[in-house]
């Protein structure tokens, strides 16, 4: 039991045998993910004992969670910061510079207008622009985490990212409304 627990308790980077960095080789991550699932997935155990089936489901669940966490840049950044003990305080600390908040309001209005005008072309444009902004923030994050090891500053960027993620959700739901 002890030997088993050691593997299950590895952090997600250890689980995939990847260095604990923000920047990662996503093709290697995919390959390791598939190699791990090939060993633990419930489809490999369905004819075996209930004990093995149960262990398989727990492992496959964990490998999926680990993959999704490392595969999505924002989640990966949050996870890394939590490994470094940095407190992001996303819910409690929403203080932002005034120009950032003004920009947020302009974004909201633009998304709302495009949604009401049922204009998928405009939404596409907004989505592209948003992706561009997110990409910039993620690049800043990479520098703060991997190069400067400044986790406090990185936490500040993650809080900004949260606003952009909400905008992305609004764009997605505007698309859904147009489709319905």
């Amino acid at each position: 039991m002890q030997a088993a627990a050691s593997g299950f308790q590895q952090d997600f980077f250890q689980l995939f045998g990847l260095p604990e960095n923000y920047r990662l080789d996503s093709e290697l991550l995919d390959r390791r993910y598939h190699a791990l699932q090939a060993q633990v997935h419930p489809d490999k155990f369905s004819h075996l004992s209930e004990a093995e089936r149960r262990v398989s489901m727990q492992w496959a669940t964990r490998v999926n969670e680990a993959y999704q966490t490392l595969n999505e840049p924002a989640r990966r950044a949050r996870y890394l910061l939590s490994l470094h003990g940095a407190d992001i305080r996303e819910e409690s600390n929403t203080a932002m510079p005034a120009d950032f908040l003004v920009a947020q309001m302009e974004w909201r209005e633009a998304i709302q207008e495009a949604g009401e005008a049922r204009d998928p072309g405009e939404l596409d444009k907004l989505e592209l622009r948003l992706q561009h902004d997110m990409h910039d923030l993620l690049e800043q994050l990479a520098a703060k985490i991997d190069t400067e090891h400044d986790y406090e500053a990185a936490a500040g960027i993650v809080r900004k990212l949260k606003f952009l993620e909400k905008l992305a959700e609004e764009i997605a739901s505007a698309f859904d409304t147009i489709d319905n």
Binding site: L18, Q37, L48, E50, A51, F175
Partner: protein
């Protein structure tokens, strides 16, 4: 269709023993059963050489049942007792079904279990039947067909479900299989099953879309196929849109054209049958003539042009493209990223559907497989693996849940816990707290769907966590954990973090059947109920015990010496001896207990084995080597 050759490496089971396993496509209109024989997936035909079993069940006053062609032939003669397209009612309440005015059935709003509405039921000559019971009649017949063809009892079956089926619909399908005496190896999404059959057969690599328009359901899945991995990136659909709706358009047109209104149930069935025939005719011909003689003696004789049929059904086709757009967006892909489009389901034979799909994807869809059979063939291939006949090392299936799972929070809002398109199995925990000072109980309402308001989502279950120690509002930490298994079925547990007070449910009660209901139905279905139940339980436990003994024996031979000390090995051997001793008796509860004991004794061993596999997966390299 030529399917892959499969050798028998006999890695996971003794090579001499081939376990009989089948794939079953339980369709809205037709159902099929297939199996892998000599390495090739084949559909099993009935005595008359027919592969498709019409999913039609007729009930008689003496309790007897007719399934398939003969029932279908009686549909307009005995419409109330002849149930068609029962799949549309699976896991659904009366309120979900919509307009029932034209329906010949006598619906019964089922007794609700707990605080949620129950599944709709149908009053027939043989009594009130739930859609689960009706479906189980179809499954029983397919099981019998398979056991006769294969010459033995089935180890289990993979049953396919529409990818867009929610938890209630999946659970109802699994219950129907259980009621038919089938061990469900896996519920497999229909588009995924089709992708297995297509992908293995064509050694396909790249991103594919599966467009699956069946009799009553529409699914679209976007899959990435690479080096033997079938990874579903996104799925979407409409579980109440299919070929039936096209028939209905023609039916409505016939009524209008002939100034008919308020037809009786048998005339309705007659015209719907004619409408379906006309739809099929128009696949090959530019026009078709619809003739029928109604009960009143009135004769119908109307010509329908393909052009008109396409016009009247255009918005149905358009409605399939909305989920396609959503699936692509969820997958983060554009039309240009799709390498091929696999067409599945009989309704994809309609030229207007093929044209619309070709226009949307800017490429001709792949139609080189039989859209009626490909799902069952793929399910059989997976069943063969899951039964342990073949090492699954050659491919890996990663599927997703189609709809977000969440719970109700203050103000009737949905809090999503597991988002749609999460790869399964999946688990997610979220912490909640109390609303009032001194609150000692919390009601948890589990829902599924994408909408913000709980009232717009499907209610799956409600349960209560009691015994929370009184604290000020907001002080308790209640962790709610959702676990979705590889069948896409949800279980939920809640735990107060401070005291460890727990509540756990497998999401079932609302639309599923309780164990007691299943037991009652099993009893109803056999004359010597008690004896049969006992004999069946004994046989099931004997089979399970033998499989378990074999699996543990193999595991011990492979890894026992390496991973366990003498005491650990002896403990497991004791458990095996205990179970073998019980197998000599006919005491099935005692056998069950011995099975549980042996399972419990092997948990640590199973974990150690998994640990070994995991480190092997990364090539046995040390982390320090990898970091260079």
């Amino acid at each position: 269709m030529a399917l892959l050759q499969i050798s028998e490496p006999g890695l996971s089971t003794a090579p001499h023993e081939h376990r009989l396993a089948v794939g079953i496509d339980l369709g809205t209109t037709n159902s099929l059963v297939a199996t892998v024989r000599n390495g090739i997936s084949v559909v099993l035909n009935d005595a008359d050489g027919r592969a498709l079993l019409p999913s039609v069940v007729r009930y008689f006053a003496d309790g007897s049942v007719q399934v398939g062609e003969s029932a279908q032939a009686a549909q307009s003669e005995d419409p109330t007792n002849t149930i068609l397209s029962v799949k549309r009612f699976m896991g659904r309440g009366l309120g979900d079904i919509g307009d029932i005015s034209g329906s010949p059935y006598r619906f019964v709003d089922a007794p609700s279990t707990g605080q949620a509405p129950g599944m709709v039921q149908l009053r027939t000559a043989a009594g009130v039947k739930s859609p689960v019971e009706v479906s189980s009649e179809i499954l029983k017949l397919l099981r019998a067909r398979a056991e006769e063809a294969l010459g033995g009892e089935l180890v289990g079956a993979v049953i396919t479900v529409p990818a867009y089926f929610d938890d209630a619909q999946r659970q109802a399908t699994k219950d129907a299989a259980r009621l038919a005496g089938i061990n469900v190896l896996r519920l497999l999404n229909e588009p995924t099953a089709a992708a297995i059959a297509y992908g293995l057969d064509n050694a396909a690599e790249g991103v594919y879309a599966v467009y699956d328009l069946g009799g009553g359901t529409f699914d679209v899945s976007i899959l990435k196929l690479s080096r033997g991995v079938f990874e579903v990136l996104a799925t979407n659909g409409n579980s109440a849109l299919g070929g039936d709706d096209f028939d209905h358009r023609i039916y409505c047109w016939l009524l209008e054209k002939n100034n008919l209104s308020a037809l009786g149930a048998s005339d309705t069935r007659l015209l719907l049958t004619r409408a379906r025939a006309a739809k099929e005719e128009l696949t090959e011909h530019d026009e078709t003539r619809v003739t029928a003689i109604l009960r009143s003696g009135e004769a119908i004789d109307t010509v329908l042009a393909r052009r008109d049929f396409h016009a009247m059904s255009q918005n149905l086709v358009e409605r399939t493209l909305q989920p396609v757009r959503r699936a692509l967006r969820d997958a983060g892909l554009a039309v240009a990223d799709i390498k091929g489009v696999v067409m599945v389901g009989g309704a994809t034979r309609m030229p207007q559907v093929q044209r619309a799909v070709a226009e949307f994807f800017r490429q001709a869809p792949l139609t080189n497989l039989d859209p009626d059979k490909v799902v069952a063939l793929g399910a059989a291939i997976q069943a063969n693996v899951l039964a342990g006949n073949r090492s699954a090392d050659d491919w890996l299936l990663l599927d997703v849940i189609p709809l977000s799972l969440g719970i109700e929070t203050m103000g009737g809002l949905t809090e999503k816990i597991i988002p749609r398109n999460s790869t399964i199995p999946a688990a997610r925990a979220q912490d909640f707290t109390t609303f009032k000072d001194g609150q000692t109980a919390m009601s948890v309402h589990v829902v599924q769907g994408e909408r913000e308001l709980v009232s717009d989502c499907r209610s799956l279950a409600r349960f209560e966590l009691r015994g929370i120690p009184p604290m000020v509002a907001g002080a308790a930490r209640i962790r709610i954990t959702f676990q979705v298994d590889a069948d896409g079925l949800l279980s939920v547990s809640a735990r107060e973090q401070g005291t460890g007070v727990e509540a756990h449910i497998t999401v079932k009660p609302s639309y599923g059947l309780s164990d007691a209901e299943i037991a009652r139905m099993l009893q109803d279905s056999s004359r010597h109920a008690q004896d049969d139940m006992q004999a069946r339980a004994l046989r099931e436990h004997q089979v399970e015990a033998n499989q378990l003994l074999e699996a543990v024996q193999n595991a011990l031979e492979q890894d026992g010496a390496a991973l366990l000390d003498d005491i650990g090995q002896a403990r497991i051997r004791d458990g095996m001896d205990g179970l073998r001793a019980m197998l000599q008796t006919a005491d099935h509860p005692a056998i069950k207990r011995a099975i549980t004991q042996l399972n419990d004794a092997t948990v640590a061993f199973a974990q150690a084995r998994m640990d070994k596999s995991v480190s092997r997966a990364l090539g046995g390299r040390k982390l320090t080597d990898l970091e260079v």
